[in-house]
């Protein structure tokens, strides 16, 4: 078992009223799963993903990741945990505009105490694997959306995470580009055993996954 959410509640107080963003979420994810989270806009998909990614906190419930109880961990430990095991892919890629492609790939490694030679080897390996060696000295603005997202996925993968969290990774891409990304996810999942949780609005994309979770008003349905 990779992670487990038990009776997770998250709310915000607004005008004296408690608005629930997540309501009683129970979810168990095994290693090697490929999960798609679906639901209408505002249903709490991104919120859930952020909670799983430990970027956001929750107000009630338990969260176990591997052997750790995330809900009892201090901020510092939590960030060490996600640093080590989780890679993020964003809808709007979020590549750093001031860094070249290979520098964007290298960036996460800088925070993980890899040596310079190791970093170079890992970056070279990724560029190779994603077939973007020729683009390594370009800046993100010089790439197409699909290519940018390719770099985004490569960046998420570079430190060998166990889990990839992707929030609408193809939201800004045309159908051919999204298909490529989905194929890539599938390959990663099947060949490398990477666990993937993606948020998507498209049934077609959801079909790549092994399991679909539907959210409505913060509740799993």
């Amino acid at each position: 078992m990779l992670l487990q959410l038990k009776n997770i509640f998250k709310w915000v107080n607004s005008g004296g009223q408690r608005i629930f963003l997540l309501k009683d979420i129970n979810l168990q994810v095994e290693e090697g799963e490929f999960i798609s989270v679906m639901g209408p806009s505002g249903s709490g998909k991104s919120t859930l993903l952020n909670v799983i990614g430990m970027l956001d906190t929750f107000d009630e419930g338990e969260y176990h990741f591997l052997d750790e109880s995330v809900h009892t961990l201090k901020e510092k430990h939590r960030s060490n945990l996600y640093k080590e095991y989780i890679g993020f892919v964003f809808q709007s890629y979020h590549l750093l505009d001031d860094l070249k492609v290979y520098e964007n790939l290298e960036m996460p490694l800088l925070y993980k105490k890899f040596k310079g030679s190791e970093r170079r080897a890992m970056v070279a390996d990724m560029l190779d694997r994603f077939n973007i060696v020729g683009k390594k000295d370009l800046f993100p603005a010089q790439l197409s959306g699909g290519q940018q997202q390719l770099v985004g996925v490569a960046r998420a993968l570079i430190a060998n995470p166990k889990l990839i969290l992707a929030d609408e990774p193809t939201g800004n891409l045309n159908s051919q580009q999204s298909e490529e990304i989905m194929q890539l996810f599938k390959r990663l999942n099947e060949e490398d055993g990477v666990t993937i949780i993606q948020v998507t609005h498209s049934e077609k994309n959801a079909a790549y996954g092994s399991r679909v979770i539907n959210l409505l008003d913060g509740r799993m349905v």
Binding site: F88, L96, E103, M107
Partner: protein, 821 residues
């Protein structure tokens, strides 16, 4: 990691050029100012650093209740060395007064100023003795050690060692600024043998053109040429005393010893209440001011003031950095979010931004060092620097200090922005693609506060600068009460003034010649006397300055004679009977109607000599303009013995240069030895305000920098405001907003800030500026119009800057902007 940070930092600097230029420019000019001050302090610290035993050398001070003297009584040195041999290894004394005036070798007569120093001088200090034996050069009476420079002047190529020179003493002023003789006579001290040559080019507070052995004085006393008393404990302005402490002895050991000596010598003396203190050699050049100093140097107070001004400029540049960083935090928020989700800790992000600002600091240092070259040149051109001992050479330690300083400045500027930026939470920054919730609330207040402070600083400096300039203008336009135009003053240097007058008056271009003991308004003095008055108007006593003048002085300088008569040519030269007073003196003597003083008798001096007041002049300014007070009393006395200058008035039409060369020819025919010394009165008076214009330059420069830097900062903020509202501008324009509406919308936020600044700074600048203005007797009135004018200038520059940005933004094509979004 570091490489990555630096790369990002550089790309960021290049990408946001306007902001980078504003930051680097502001920081570099303000840093250059601070570097100059560091250089100044450093160079002062370096003075006297070449003495190998400098750590063991102390100078003894005489301390009164609220002031201290660099000098000590003559017998103190001998007394200490004899009684405390376990503490003191060596003692050197240097007479405080200069000796010399003219040194003569053959037909070379060179004006030089030297000092009496005792024979241990070269054993304790490490002045480079080019020839001669350090132990003996100053042993025998009538020994003289010349500096290399003096030796070349006197002897040229000839080897001076063993040669004999004549020394004429003219009673030089203690402060050898202008080698002003205190009296108009000279004494031939005798023949001196050159025993050594020293190269004293390394900076030291001990300045001399030559040294004469202290043992000479005893011989001179016997010959009646000196009145020095070697066991006079009551005069503590006689000599400078330096002790070389034994190895391993701390200067604290001296404390009880000096206390004992003082209480032994002075406990029975009512009139004298001093104690002694010691000061390390290394402290002499950077410490508080002592009376009777050996040489002029920058008092530590000036360094404090300069440092304060430097810091103000530096802070305004740092303000810009902080301000602009906060303003631009949005543009970096995505990067911070991404880095944090990729595993960066807050500390790492903080480090990144601090490194970035340190990089800006170092970058600014590069430019600052370039600017420093210009700045030092300008600074050294200041009038005051001809009297200071400065060594502005670069060395590696200084460079390290500079680097350290710039790192500190960078860190200081970056610490607030870095801790702010690193606090961003990744989820907020990434989720809110627009990031609109960032930097609101408290941060906005902080930013507004910073803008207000910049407005305040600008306004304060604009008002201060305006006031300083109007005061300077007032002083330079101020009438002295005499007519200095077309007058050339000659120094008599012992020549009989009537002989000279008779020669010079032959020239038809010369209209009049008068004589005086000092030239009014140039900082000279003849001293002051006690006046006693027992008249029908009551009794009064006062001390008044006096000036010795001849009968031509008042008409020649066109001084207004308000009542009575001038001196007449027939008066006896040596028996003083009549006196002329100025209005202030008359009033202080009790004559409410000053004119009634004429005909009265006053008694002056210790002897209570009775003098009849024959005339009354207006209160012309006789002191330095910066120090003059219209209420200063003055006596004009007919004392031909005291005449030291003649004032030559020539026709306005005549050529000054040809008159000067005529006078020089006449002078040379009358005096074969002294060189012709003259000054054009108008120029001389202007030069006396030089120290004041130095201050104006410095303050003006600092003001200019501060105003420029805050304007730059404002430019940045305005540019950012416009930038961050691009989308809003686009939407509003699409919906029909006019350019002028948008300009107003973007600019109006600055108005309240401006008014807050006016409310704070108006009264503050009034109060602070009144403080220094009070120090001048002749001053402009601080009219509220200056504040209003300052506000006007401030408003114009400030809003000019803001509008330059907002108008461009408002003119933007809205569709283009929206399409980009």
């Amino acid at each position: 990691m570091l490489k990555n940070y630096i790369k990002v930092a550089f790309r960021n600097l290049l990408k946001h050029k306007l902001f980078s230029v504003i930051n680097v420019l502001g920081l570099s000019v303000s840093m250059a100012t601070c570097l100059l001050i560091i250089l100044l302090i450093y160079s002062q610290k370096k003075v006297d650093g070449f003495h190998e035993k400098q750590d063991r050398i102390v100078r003894i001070l005489s301390v009164e209740e609220n002031r201290s003297f660099a000098s000590t009584p003559l017998p103190l040195g001998k007394m200490l060395s004899e009684n405390y041999p376990h503490v003191i290894e060596d003692v050197v004394q240097i007479r405080s007064s200069f000796v010399g005036g003219d040194v003569v070798y053959g037909d070379h007569r060179i004006p030089l100023a030297g000092r009496y120093a005792d024979d241990r001088f070269f054993a304790v200090f490490d002045f480079n003795l080019v020839s001669g034996d350090a132990e003996t050069v100053l042993q025998e009476p009538f020994s003289i050690v010349l500096t290399k420079k003096s030796a070349v002047k006197l002897f040229g190529e000839t080897n001076p060692i063993g040669k004999s020179v004549k020394l004429n003493d003219v009673g030089l002023n203690t402060m050898g600024i202008d080698l002003i003789p205190t009296e108009n006579k000279e004494t031939l001290l005798g023949d001196f043998v050159v025993t050594g040559i020293t190269d004293n080019t390394l900076p030291s507070h001990i300045q001399f053109d030559f040294l004469v052995s202290m043992s000479t004085i005893s011989s001179l006393v016997k010959q009646g040429k000196s009145n020095a008393i070697f066991d006079d404990w009551e005069n503590y302005s006689d000599a400078y005393l330096y002790l070389l402490l034994k190895e391993g002895v701390s200067d604290r050991v001296l404390e009880p010893i000096l206390k004992d000596v003082a209480s032994e010598k002075y406990s029975t003396l009512e009139a004298i209440n001093i104690r002694f203190a010691s000061e390390k050699l290394s402290q002499i050049n950077v410490s508080t001011f002592h009376q009777n100093p050996m040489s002029l140097r920058l008092p530590i107070e000036i360094i404090y003031v300069l440092s304060f001004l430097g810091l103000i400029v530096l802070f305004s540049a740092c303000f810009n950095y902080v301000n602009l960083s906060f303003a631009r935090s949005l543009t970096r928020s995505k990067e911070i979010g991404v880095r944090k989700t990729m595993g960066a800790s807050r500390r790492q992000v903080f480090l990144q931004f601090i490194l970035e600002s340190i990089l800006v600091g170092l970058l600014s240092l590069l430019i600052a060092i370039g600017l420093l070259q210009i700045l030092t040149k300008v600074f050294l051109d200041l009038w005051i620097n001809q009297f200071l001992i400065l060594d502005f050479r670069f060395d590696i330690a200084l460079f390290l200090v500079f680097v350290l300083f710039s790192v500190l400045v960078g860190g200081m500027a970056g610490v607030f922005p870095a801790s702010f930026l690193s606090s961003f939470s990744p989820i907020k920054t990434l989720h809110n693609a627009t990031g609109m919730t960032l930097g609101k609330g408290k941060r906005i207040h902080l930013r507004k506060g910073l803008v207000v402070m910049q407005f305040c600083a600008s306004l304060f400096f604009i008002i201060t600068t305006l006031l300083i300039f109007s005061q300077l203008n007032y002083l330079t336009e101020k009438e002295y009460g005499f007519d200095q135009s077309n007058v050339i003053n000659l120094k008599l240097q012992g020549m009989d003034y009537e002989t000279l007058t008779n020669e010079l008056i032959q020239n038809p271009s010369i209209q009049g010649i008068s004589a005086c003991s000092f030239v009014p308004g140039t900082g000279g003095y003849s001293g002051s006397v006690l006046i006693e008055n027992n008249s029908s108007e009551g009794e009064s006593e006062l001390t008044s300055h006096f000036i010795a003048v001849d009968q031509n002085f008042i008409p020649n300088l066109k001084i207004q004679l308000k009542a009575g008569t001038n001196f007449s040519a027939e008066m006896p030269k040596h028996k003083e009977k009549f006196v002329i007073v100025n209005e202030a003196a008359a009033q202080l003597l009790g004559y409410l109607v000053p004119e009634t003083v004429v005909g009265e008798t006053i008694r002056i001096g210790e002897e209570r000599t009775a003098l009849t007041v024959i005339g009354l002049t207006s209160n012309f300014i006789f002191d330095l303009l910066t120090e003059a007070d219209p209420k200063d009393p003055l006596l004009l006395r007919y004392l031909p013995d005291k005449f030291a200058y003649v004032n030559v008035r020539h026709t306005p039409a005549s050529n000054t240069a040809s008159i000067i060369s005529f006078m020089e020819r006449q002078w040379k025919s009358l005096d074969k030895v002294h060189s012709f010394k003259y000054k054009v009165y108008e120029d001389e008076l202007k030069a006396t305000n030089a120290i004041f214009s130095d201050i104006i330059y410095i303050l003006g420069f600092i003001s200019f920098l501060t105003i420029t830097i805050s304007t730059l900062g404002l430019l940045g903020i305005a540019a950012f405001t416009a930038e961050s509202k691009r989308k809003e501008i686009g939407i509003r324009k699409v919906h029909g907003a006019k350019t002028k509406n948008i300009t107003f919308l973007l600019s109006k936020g600055f108005l309240p800030l401006f008014f807050i600044a006016v409310l704070v700074t108006g009264p503050l600048s009034y109060f602070v500026n009144t403080l220094w203005l009070e120090a001048f007797a002749y001053k402009v009135s601080f009219s509220p119009w200056i504040i209003v004018l300052g506000m006007g200038i401030m408003f114009a520059t400030g809003f000019g800057t803001i509008l330059s940005q907002t108008i461009t933004a408002a003119h933007d094509n809205p569709l283009k902007r929206l399409r980009e979004e």
